[in-house]
Symmetry: C2
Subunit: 293 residues, 2 copies
């Protein structure tokens, strides 16, 4: 970043032979977070993770972030300070510079995060590259974030620090970078809306279908209890990666567990195969908000 | 734009030897516009103009736009359609591609516009380059947008199409590009918050002061009546350019009137010199919203 906050635009220099990546994500109070549930530093962290995870989904390297904040007049300054603490702590970890943004008054908190990054020219891993016969993989374990959300919805008092899967989720930037470098991933997406929805996105963009083995889906544990299949299938905000490949994939990449969960098919639609071999259509549902890109 | 809407990030290719410019601007219902005053296509137009004008302020060329929209559940789809019509009509005019965004539910309309563009490497015109002795110039005429806003505040029924200065303002992309190419502008900003505020920004970033001739300030006419000095000094959203130069500047650039209004000084502060030669401190005020970058 050559020029940051304090001029009309941020000026960035992108290395020669690299493509630029841009992603924007809007987080709104009472839709994406609640002030009574989420500490302000968790809100800041989660906002940035959404953008970083989109970067990861392309195999990209984040460079700069911009945040536009709509804030109610009566919001304590402390809330804003802690929001930025959470956001900047995460930004430093990934050497992402906060390079600008905007701020305005509103009746409800809204934060729009823009992350700009880069990838070697022509090497971004798209959603559209899956082909019949490719194996389907996920990183990490699924459903933890939704399981913690359920605890919040049930009014259980929980400390944010004890449940980082929900309050301080991590984008899989390094795993994605290695998958892209090795040329192993044919298509990739981050699981922000839930496995069922995000797999349907890959299938839609690639013009293919998928067959998923129910027993293979890696379910997270929360408080030492394994989450339900429902949560693993439809729970969002885990920020793990879902990708397809026709090559061998190691069991761990950059220290993160990778699990084969199924195969890409030529027939459209996603089929879930249960433990007894019965096939069911996997509906896309769960975490999708009002609308989703 | 190599990949647009439909993947996790937009992929952009920036020409070799060019710097990337990024700007974000948040527009909020009842702060930046009102549904009872502004037709939806005007809101879309005005949102994009804010970003394009920031691009102009650096001498940059816009390439792509991203829009994140927070929308109340009960908002008619027609409002959204017309918002995009206004935004896309303007985008086409400047060959700017709408390359992504996000959408979410909220209680109040909020639109965050991100414009990405480029400029030859190292050639962005910053706010910080003004030096004592440079002359100060503005493009076009000032105060029209604020004068129309006042009419709206006075409950006067007006048709948006009759007052494009307010409802469909134009960013000075071409004038700015020529000024940058000719190397004539030492510092530049767009007048979005009002002359007094934006001149103070240039002075602050450049570590200089300014002396402005009151009689030289080009005041706009609205309904054939010249706007007040107050409006020309402090009214915002005209999206004209304010720049400094130590070279000769033609009276028109790219068909737009350019007026010399004063001179950069070494003493900090902005002094307004009236018709009788009396000097008064020019306070920065007017259009600044809740907070401003």
């Amino acid at each position: 970043v050559a020029v940051g906050i304090g001029d009309d635009c941020a000026v960035l220099r992108v290395g020669r032979g690299r493509d630029l990546l841009v992603t924007t994500d809007l987080s709104i109070e009472r839709v994406h977070f609640r002030r009574e549930w989420h500490p302000p530093d968790s809100v800041g962290h989660r906002c940035l993770t959404r953008g970083l995870s989109d970067m990861a989904a392309m195999g990209g390297e984040p460079v700069a972030a911009f945040v536009s904040l709509a804030l109610p007049r009566q919001l304590p300054q402390r809330w804003v300070d802690e929001f930025f603490e959470g956001l900047l702590r995460l930004a430093r970890k990934y050497k992402v510079q906060l390079a600008g943004g905007d701020i305005a008054q509103a009746e409800q908190i809204a934060a729009d995060i823009v992350v700009v990054g880069s990838v070697p020219a022509g090497k971004a891993v798209l959603r559209s590259g899956a082909r019949p016969g490719d194996a389907i993989f996920v990183t990490g374990r699924l459903g933890a974030s939704a399981a913690v959300l359920k605890m919040l919805q049930e009014d259980r008092k929980i400390r944010a620090r004890r449940f980082p899967e929900h309050f301080y989720p991590v984008a899989q930037i390094e795993v994605a970078r290695r998958l892209r470098q090795s040329g192993r991933a044919t298509a990739m997406i981050d699981i922000s809306d839930g496995l069922s929805v995000d797999l349907a996105h890959i299938c839609g963009e690639s013009g293919v279908g998928a067959r998923v083995e129910q027993a293979a889906i890696p379910r997270a544990k929360v408080d030492r209890v394994q989450v339900s299949l429902e949560m693993a299938l439809h729970g969002g905000e885990d920020y793990q990666l879902l990708f397809t490949s026709r090559k061998r994939i190691p069991k761990t990449v950059a220290g993160v567990e990778v699990t084969r969960i199924g195969i890409v098919t030529s027939e459209p639609g996603v089929v879930l195969v249960d433990e007894r071999g019965r096939e069911n259509k996997l509906e896309s549902r769960g975490w999708e908000h009002f609308a989703n890109e």
